[in-house]
């Protein structure tokens, strides 16, 4: 039998008082716990060793006799306070007092608790030599219980301990607290204050009453920071695309390069000009007929990000049609991609494509796309920034249009809104005053006209939040807005 299994059995045997709670604190009938400022945090596993070697708090291993010839080990760490402290009886994975569990004990001590971590499976012989408990002790629930009781009795007898004890078990990524009432807390930095507040409430511990121990806390925190020095660097969230959400600034190119969907450039003739509408098309994986979504470009043109957005629209089951609105404005009559740099393309196109020409070009794209064999006759549009405004306006220009999604774009005037038949769905950032100020008036006008317009304004979110997902709460806004977008298109384009 391996150690691991033995230990697991031991944990099972000890389930008498370490029972799992199916009721997390928030959902249960317990008193609400107010989040308090804590003077501690959940240590990382990487930082545990350094925290333990840095901490200022008094700590020691004690031998707790369990038989004439043997003892078990327990780790005790003391808070810096003049009065007696409530006790936390802390058990870790496999009932071992490993480094991380002891680091957690240090942080609990920072809150004024005297903490004991039993090392149930380590025995100490009369000569002081330590050895791992052999079978049958570890899988003997009664023996494990007896040893834990011995440790508990020993620690409550310490002069520094108040006669109040709460058991906390750290297994399975949670802290399960048993004080008669049971509550479980996720082992996360954000949940840590809730755990502390609950322990304080259950034991009558008042951190304010604990004499200041700033130097110890300070050193402990410093150790945590120091431990990060040699930790592997991290993968920035900016570099990882959620397959269900559109790419951001940094993931656009790889999204385009790696998509398995069929993509193509088509040059659509336009009446009265030799300029052709250079259009990026992404076909969905489905072979069924489906709706067309016209992707209306943001202020820097049909760049990689905008095309990656089209890929996501097709990933979600629609024919994505992304015209280069600036077709023909580049050097030598070229398109967006004829310019060497993005800002060159912007300058080249500036003032050349009027609002009327914009609408004309998107009409051309729509008519062309409806001729695709896979098109089911329904059309939607999605636009960003200036393209958001165009997506809204397109609904008034094309009465047959079915659905317009607007990301941080402004609405057309009310007289144009009157012509809209399509449903309109808009997403805005609170920190985008110029655009977001138009939302309430647009809602009022659309309501007066009996039109369908749903608007979401996200707090602490900026303009261009789908592109720049690393600002403020932008990433959270994308996670909320995109599923709504797709649901909306499914509703109106199928």
């Amino acid at each position: 039998m391996t150690r691991h299994v033995i230990a697991a059995l031991a944990v099972g045997g000890a389930a008498l008082f370490l029972a799992w709670s199916a009721h997390p604190l928030r959902g249960g009938a317990l008193d609400p716990v107010v989040h308090a400022e804590t003077r501690s945090t959940l240590p990382t596993r990487e930082g545990a060793k350094e925290l333990l070697s840095f901490t200022h708090r008094h700590r020691e291993w004690i031998n707790v006799p369990i038989a004439d010839q043997a003892s078990v080990l327990a780790w005790v760490i003391y808070p810096e306070r003049a009065d007696r402290a409530p006790v936390v009886f802390l058990t870790g994975e496999h009932l071992r007092a490993d480094e991380w569990t002891r680091a957690v004990s240090d942080q609990l001590a920072a809150e004024g608790f005297l903490v004991v971590v039993p090392d149930i499976l380590t025995e100490v012989d009369p000569q002081g030599d330590r050895y791992d408990a052999a079978a049958p002790v570890p899988n003997d629930a009664a023996e494990v219980g007896r040893r834990m009781q011995a440790v508990q009795t020993a620690v409550l007898a310490l002069p520094a301990a108040r006669n109040v004890l709460v058991r906390v078990d750290l297994t399975g990524g949670q802290a399960v607290v048993d004080t008669g009432q049971r509550a479980s807390f996720a082992l996360s930095v954000s949940e840590w204050p809730s755990l502390i507040a609950f322990l304080n409430q259950q034991t009558g511990n008042s951190p304010d009453a604990v004499p200041a121990a700033a130097h110890a806390d300070h050193l402990a925190m410093q150790a945590v920071q120091a431990a990060q020095r040699n930790a592997p660097g991290r993968v920035s969230a900016l570099a990882v695309k959620d397959p269900r959400l559109p790419a951001g600034f940094y993931t656009a190119r790889s999204t385009l390069l790696d998509t398995k969907l069929k993509t193509e450039w088509v040059d659509i003739p336009m009446e009265g000009t030799t300029v052709k509408l250079h259009t990026f098309v992404v076909h969905p994986a489905t072979t069924e007929r489906t709706g067309v979504v016209i992707v209306m470009q943001h202020g820097v043109g049909l760049d990689e990000w905008q095309r990656a957005l089209a890929v996501q629209v097709a990933e979600d089951g629609f024919i994505a049609v992304a015209p280069d609105l600036w077709s023909g404005t580049g050097p030598n009559g070229g398109n967006w991609d004829a310019s060497a740099f993005i800002d060159d393309a912007m300058r080249a196109a500036a003032g050349k494509i009027t609002p009327a020409e914009t609408m004309r070009r998107y009409r051309v794209a729509r008519t062309w796309a409806l001729g695709l064999p896979q098109a089911n006759g329904k059309t939607g549009s999605i636009g960003f920034c200036a393209g958001g405004g165009n997506s809204f306006r397109f609904a008034s220009e094309v009465p047959e249009h079915n659905a317009s999604v607007v990301f941080y774009g402004t609405p057309p005037p009310e007289e144009e809104m009157a012509k809209i038949n399509a449903a309109v769905l808009g997403f805005y950032g609170e920190n985008d005053a110029r655009v977001t100020a138009t939302v309430e008036p647009a809602k009022a006008a659309m309501a007066r006209l009996g039109k369908s317009y749903e608007a979401h304004v996200y707090p602490k979110v900026t303009h261009s939040f789908v592109l720049f997902q690393d600002m403020g709460n932008n990433a959270a806004a994308v996670a909320d807005a995109w599923p709504r977008t797709i649901e909306f298109f499914r509703r109106y384009l199928r």
Partner: protein, 320 residues
Amino acid sequence: MVAVRMPVMTRYTMAASALAAVMTLGVTSAVLVAQDAGRGRGAEPAGRQGGPPAGRGGGLGTKTPELLASVWTASSTVARTTLRHEWVDVPMGSARLHTWVEYPAGDARAPVVIVLQDDPGLDDWTRGVADQLAFEGFIAVAPDLFSGYGPNGGHFDSFRTQDEAMRVAGPRLTADEALRRATAAAAFAQRLPRASGALGVIGFGSGGTLAVRMAAEVPTTKGVVVFYGAAPADAVLRRVAAPVLAFFAEDDETVTSTVPATTATMQRLGKRFDVFRYPGATHSFLKYQFEGVNTPATQDGWARAIAFLRQQLQASERSR
């Protein structure tokens, strides 16, 4: 030798912009603003970008001459700069640190500023920062901290895409290795024939943290500029002799929430630490300077950064 000031908490109202909540420790801000008048010397700004003059083509595509480039204008700015620039492979043990060096106009000696990248790597935007520093009269030295981590031992620019660079090289770059590289860049920079001997450092995000660590490691550092980066451990701060000027955005909770503790520590240690916090601005506000109130934050922060570096680095030249 930097005089240790007793930090005094003062409320400073910015005259140049409506940004209100500014917290500054120390009494140096007025001096910095006064120094500001000397900006803009050196290369002629108009047309340096190579394209048509500013004013045509709308906001996003136009670089303001006295400000660093945004994420949209950086590539053309770097590609068309008229300032002398070069890639140098700095020997660093068995490896080589691929480093972008850009010089101010003329051939006079100049102070050096090390430019430390954010998580996304030494991209065009970061080199745009170097270009702007060179324009302002500094020798800008920007090491590619991902050097050698690319395919076949290549650098940042050998990766197929930027996110791939972040995913592959990011985890390989430990904090200590990043420090070793920044320090190697500083040692190299100080030996450049045109280097005046004065050394500063500027960093963004995680590069801001690294900038402070570099200053602790390289005692000749005379000024540290941090944009939205959390402070390193207190033991490191204790060894920082140079004044630190730091900028944070209100809507950047992860980083900005660390500021009060850092401020308290720096105060306790008697270090000069000037902090500006911009309401409503976001993380990476220089890169995304066109969004929301990032524009005034960029205008104010960048001008202060340049004035601070000029004052710190030129003052140290005078004292030599």
